[in-house]
Symmetry: C3
Subunit: 678 residues, 3 copies
């Protein structure tokens, strides 16, 4: 029995396939037949259907046309290809916007969009919700019980915001529910500043550059509202389809850590299974390993949301069309990037797209079947090889777990707050940068890591890292206090614990609100460095550069481990540690360079004896992770370098494909991987 | 008899003069008298009048005031100065916008302009068309038969677009006429993509960033409509004046190859003679020769539109006012730039402007008569020297031809399509760059070249170059096939022949639609390189850099002449040739550096024995072209370098001014020219 | 008796304190008590109150709530803390915008703001003026005679513009009053250009990017109107409070030379005393002396407006929150920057802010009392030291004068005109740069300098510098002519004297309008150089770089002192002098490098025997200025370098704090100052 219940119980196998848009080809009947032949050749067992089919499913209001889709689903199923069925709300037909202009989003200046693009409906509009409910219900009734259909794909890449009057009203209602009184809201938002005190709920308007952007509490609550309203819309869709087929699970496709407009932790928790669309920019000269680390961080976050395996819902077989430079995936890279997803917890390899679009915006996005229309292409051959690989892996890997003893906190609300933060460094506080730098040590050393948020539980971890966690919210102080007191190790970096959940600064010198008791210090001043300007610190006999901001801290009970080397705060602590209960808490008072973090976390990892995928020196550019399927430990060794890399194995491993056993020296070719049990 | 019928039959001489704006000086009567004296001194024989005079000709609706203009035209004529009479539609009076707000353009967001600027009327507005027709008719009636008036100058620098409701309606009408059915339009625009299928003509709206920008067929058709509507407006003006004076020819002033918002080939073909406004940025340090090549390319395009001599309608006597840096023309440069226009087919040298404006936006644009108001300036003296030169040249040069055996295709529609193209290189596919690079070889070697478009005839050429001709439209495949089969040499570069005329990709492997038969290959993949990243190829023993994009082609019948040196497609063809009928067709599969093209075209030119202005080695920075007047061959030798250059003449030449004969070594001073017969 | 009447007669002492916003802390009663204790500790004797209190003073229309403020003012006064009372018009309450939407500004496109931010009311709105008059009157009635209240602080940081219909009407009214007839306006604005002749006053609209931006006379008059309307609004506020308390003086806080949207000379002349908010970006690496020079220039301008000592109304105790990088003030810098203000004529040291805001946009702007809330911080200690210093200085410095023999003309209208100027160098004519370069010599050599405008009197000066004074207006020609004829020395640089006050170019060759008689030359051409491109000139045996623009001048009576070294105008004058009456006038024909100006002005200063603060060589980074209090000469020696600097004193000086006398060598520590009498 695998640790995780299957994400797709009707077809509990690693999924291979992708977005399929036959509605673009209905006037090319030969093409549709050829697609089946080619998909079968490529080892495709699943497609996502219907994402942009609304105009073909309901060409006029209340006139439905499902026949074409009936035929396609039946034919797919006959050929052993399963279906992830999408609700079509990601892009509405023209007629819907004609009849109900309220479905079109309104921008910050109050101007309503003209029909166009996608992913841009008003999530409040009752009319849109009703039309979506209707088409979703029809789809569920017609296809929900079809044996081919294994999962709901709710809408597409949720995101964005609407400033229409309906949304304003809902926002005010949401605020009333949250704050009850205007006095409470005015205090939380600190509106006596600049005489901005609200004296009526109707005065509240979403942040806009032609109105209010100075009230950061308003900004934050607006972003929270946008997330909540998006979730509410999504849940309405889930309810519609589950009303008909309660047992069919639902996913929505997210977009990784950088797409933080919506709080994915909050939204993802409402799904049966998280899926995401991953488009790393491979082949930036000399950067593949770095890109793999970015990518892995997002995979780990996606997995951590529901603490289980996730689905890779989209990736490209070769190039994108929307980058400034769209490079081909070089030979080997496609398979390697799929292996990386599996290595971090994916249970699928799905592409955008099966057949390349002929016209409009995405015609140069690559596909399994290119404009040439044949199996006679390099890309088709590489996809087919992946198909064969996944078929062999499925039994062992599908639903297996990714155990982790380390958690790094990425909190979407801190990111929102830092984006609007005025001072100390408007040119940029690199929140993603410091998270990535902390993550990299663990990636480079074969230590599985979770990416969690303030609402997560930290109980299962031995090391929790809170890089630049500016906002303490959701009672995280108590959770971190009890985690540390219970023997955990907590690491914080500069600008952690500055404000409460409405962006009000904590007052006073040392205080529990700021975790001063746990950290043993308080922060008196925060200096800001120009880009290219550095301070430095010596630690363990080495000198390390510090950048961005430098906190001047006032120790209370903490011990100073390293100090600043220059500026007027030379000699002031740059690294401290404080014993607290059975654990201890560190403060890195600035933004250190990667080498420092590698050494710092290296010491901690050794001391704590954190489990590694393999007890060996990991060559540069190589990543090793593991998953556990209840009976076996599956190790994924990936080489993102162009040249072969050599490992010295700590024990015997058995190749999952060939059954061959490895001991001692193991060479991994450039841009390739080995998956082994051991 | 000169090859071309005269552009200005009432005064068949090289025109010298420029825009004259006496309406700015009506309250300075001395100034107007002084202008005549100074123009005569400067050898000015023609002025453009009335371009911005509407407010003075019709100060109130239906109240006309022509007296001031009567006096000026009479006085000019008495002083042997002829008139190019402009219709004043380039800038409307305030009252017209007050009374008919529909004449003001509407932007993408639907906001109508407030009155201001120029060249910004709605070209659809019936009210504007009617008021323009009325004033044009009045002008034609009053001045059309005046002996001074030799040419109509229709409006000014047509361009731009309007998104008003009237334009939307016309656009829909235009589309209905083109596509007949929505099914046809939906297929052509590939709208089943993203559920954007149109189900009513009324749903169609011009592309706008608050609406639709993802449907590239819509974008293309919008741009075509804008061109057609602009032409329609222009033709209405031409009809109005020709209804009164059918025999007086009409021009409109275009703006060279970079002003491609309107398809100049299409618009220019509706004129009796093409004219254009040329403002090269001379004296960019070390760049004069390069600038001359840019400039010459535009001259050649302007000439090729109607395959006859053109008019230089505007250039500056010294500086512009609208550049980031407005440098003076250094001594000699003014004359040299006029010679360059003549050398490429101009029959005039007209300036913006005769007298420098005293206030508002253009007061620092230079003029023949500066703010000092006297002949006592360097610029006035240089203009006067040009006047004397033109008088001497007129008989031999006016109306002479510029024979060419080489054509380079620049197609405005391909430029439009590439601008919107998503993938493979959104950072930029340098269409102008590759055209210029191909052109440069011929410029540097004294070979006259035409710049043509897909609608041109290729029969008269021996070499046709189609650089990055992304879109095959207007049956160009058949024309190129028959050109090649008939013995012509065709050269294509990467990303040629990708889509049809609605931006739908050609499907299948090799096909005639893509000219696979002529080229002997098809393209499997197109890789994109970062800026600063290169591949390379060896050809004829030399290594050359390749940039931007690299096509991975699949040879069918072609021969591989050179291959890629690196990346995973190392060894794959980078240059191919295919014999086809009596001719042959080349594919350069990437964007090569200039040196490659110089060598490549050098071999071709020698092999084909293309006619050169002079059979000699042309020093760097020197350009040689020729015109033919029916009895003589006039050679223009120009040195854009700062130092003297030396040529070794292939035969005897006779200086057109001095009558002196040249043989053997000939020195040309820096920034100067020699015009000779031979 | 000090030279200047006291700025604050009710409390004639150097003010120390700053913006105090107790309305943000009304729900924290302990905080308010603690504030008094801490202010007293810090030597604070004055606070600015009420700037953003409107929402708390009048929470609903016509419902006033003064009780909280009564208590605060009383308590402050009991603790010897005085009050600068602000009118609250800088930021209106929500309800006011709800009830009178006309108070919200309208942007260029005609869109009205939504409520938000501050400093953004329509200055025309009758409703706003009436509501402001009402609250101002109430404040004056209640507090105008309170012994604590010593000065009115009218609104806050006036600036910006509104394009609403009310403003358009006022603008038209203002224009009618100025021009009387449309003919006059059309000539002044040169509107026959591009057929833009106005035929009705109603056609006039403020400049906007969706309408007119090509008519520079319109631009200029619009900016003048904005200044006049702002002044009119301000004067209405002053009248309201002076109607109740005629004797209480009024200030408004300006923002230095770079905030030129409003003409500060014109506005400042309407105040009893000028004050300003100064936020230099200290600690840009290696730039402190340069920053001090920028800062000093603004101080000198603020002082010159009313030719008397001014108030420093805001500066930061340590960091700002709105810079891209907000650095801490390093130890010593705070005191030094306060000394610099005093050295240039300040009679106060006021901060933004007393207590650091807890939330919203400015929470990370530093304050005397930080979030820690205690005296236990470095910043608090440094502020307290300044408090002690100011107390000791007050008797000698308060109200003392800053005598100057040199004036540099900075004219706001020239800056406006240059900003819109099309040609010769749209990339930038660095008006501020050339002013600063001229100023720097005097700063570096201990010579007090005034910064004046065209409306100033030049009689008291011996040297007047007019750098790039593009626009001659207000009869300045006659004033400069009589100044020079009377024995003064006038220095002009390139692009001086080009246009009249409606931006019409002066016509003709030499003319008195252009000061050709005084300068002995006229300008034939103006060349423009690329950034990084230089000409040069040799003068006094040295070669100097010239940049930006090069005038080619035609000498009439002037003598050529130096010539251009290169380009086609090599040998043409680059520096000229002309004797005129008893004086003489120089033309620097380009933009020279600093070294040239240092040498050039060095010769002039020596020759004229200009008074220096101290006759000694001033080390780099050191500034010396003096003030005179009627009986003593107070010398401020400041070292902006990081290392000690040594001076060799010309006579004996007595330290103002210690009474110690200095002779011979005097060392000044890095980032520190010495204030002495002598």
């Amino acid at each position: 029995m695998h640790p995780h219940a299957p994400a797709t119980p009707k077809y509990p196998h690693i999924l291979h396939g992708g977005d399929y848009n036959p509605e673009q080809w209905l006037s090319y009947p030969d093409v549709l037949d050829e697609d089946i032949r080619l998909m079968t050749l490529a080892g495709i067992n699943c497609v996502s259907l219907g994402i942009f089919s609304w105009a073909d499913l309901e060409p006029e209001k209340d006139h439905f046309n499902f026949e074409w889709l009936d035929g396609i689903i039946d034919k797919l199923y006959k050929n052993d290809i399963h279906v992830i069925l999408a609700t079509p709300s990601g892009s509405r037909p023209h007629w819907l916007a004609d009849e109900f202009p309220e479905v079109l989003r309104v921008g910050e200046t109050g101007q309503r969009n003209i029909y166009g693009h996608r992913h841009n409906h008003c999530y409040t509009s009752p009319a849109y919700r009703e039309r979506v409910r209707l088409i979703d219900t029809k789809l569920a009734e017609r296809y929900g019980h079809h044996p081919a259909v294994i999962l709901w794909h709710i809408s597409n890449e949720f995101g964005g915001e609407c400033h229409c009057e309906l949304c304003q009203q809902e926002f005010r209602r949401w605020l009333k529910e949250k704050y009850k009184t205007l006095d409470a809201l005015n205090h939380a938002w600190w509106t006596h500043f600049w005489a901005h005190t609200y004296t009526s709920w109707e005065q509240i308007h979403s942040p806009t550059w032609i109105g209010e952007t100075a009230v950061h509490g308003l900004d934050l609550d607006w972003k929270r509202f946008v997330t909540d309203q998006t979730i509410d819309f999504m849940k309405a869709e889930i309810s519609a389809v589950k009303a008909i087929v309660p047992e069919l699970p639902a996913t929505a496709n997210l977009m990784g850590i950088y797409a933080y407009g919506v709080d994915y932790f909050k939204l993802g928790r409402e799904l049966d299974v998280v899926s995401w669309d991953s488009y790393p920019e491979w082949h930036l000269p000399g950067k593949n390993a770095e890109i793999a680390r970015n990518e892995s961080l997002s995979h780990d976050m996606m997995r951590s949301i529901k603490q289980r395996s996730f689905l890779l819902m989209e990736c490209t077989p070769s190039t994108t069309n929307w980058r400034s430079i769209s490079k081909l995936k070089k030979p080997g890279m496609h398979e390697l990037s799929i292996v990386n997803a599996l290595a971090h917890g994916a249970d699928s390899a799905m592409y955008f797209q099966i057949r390349q679009s002929r016209g409009s915006a995405e015609k140069f996005h690559s596909a399994v079947i290119s404009h040439a229309g044949t199996e006679n292409t390099r890309v088709f051959r590489e996809v087919s090889e992946v198909g064969r690989m996944l078929k062999k892996l499925s039994d062992k890997v599908y639903g297996s777990a990714s155990p982790a003893e380390v958690a790094i906190i990425f909190d979407t609300e801190t990111k929102w707050a830092l984006d609007k933060c005025q001072g100390p460094r408007n040119e940029g506080l690199d929140y993603f940068g410091i998270i990535q730098k902390c993550y990299d040590y663990f990636w480079k050393n074969g230590i599985n890591t979770d990416i969690v948020d303030c609402d997560s539980s930290f109980e299962k971890y031995r090391l929790v890292i809170a890089p630049m966690l500016y906002m303490f919210r959701g009672g995280i102080q108590e959770k971190l206090r009890s985690f540390t007191a219970g023997g955990g190790v907590l690491v914080t970096t500069a600008f952690t614990g500055v404000v409460n959940d409405t962006d009000l600064c904590f007052l006073g010198e040392a205080s529990e609100e700021k975790l001063s008791d746990v950290l043993g210090l308080w922060v008196e001043e925060t200096d800001s460095l120009y880009t290219g300007e550095y301070n430095s610190t010596r630690w363990n006999g080495q000198s390390y550069r510090l950048s961005e901001i430098c906190e001047i801290v006032r120790p209370v009970t903490c011990e100073t481990l390293a100090v600043y080397d220059s500026d007027f705060y030379k000699g002031s602590p740059a690294l401290t540690v404080n014993s607290f209960g059975n654990g201890r808490a560190y403060r890195i008072c600035s933004t250190p360079e990667t080498d420092f973090l590698d050494c710092f976390f290296g010491e901690l990892a050794e001391e704590l004896g954190l489990e590694r995928a393999m007890n060996c020196k990991v060559p540069e550019g190589v990543s090793i992770t593991w998953r556990e399927n209840g009976s076996e430990r599956i190790v994924f060794i990936q080489n993102f370098g162009d040249s072969p890399a050599e490992l010295i194995l700590d024990r015997e491993y058995r190749d999952i494909f060939t059954g061959k056993t490895y001991t001692g020296r193991l060479a991994v070719e450039g841009l390739s991987s080995i998956i082994a049990v051991g």
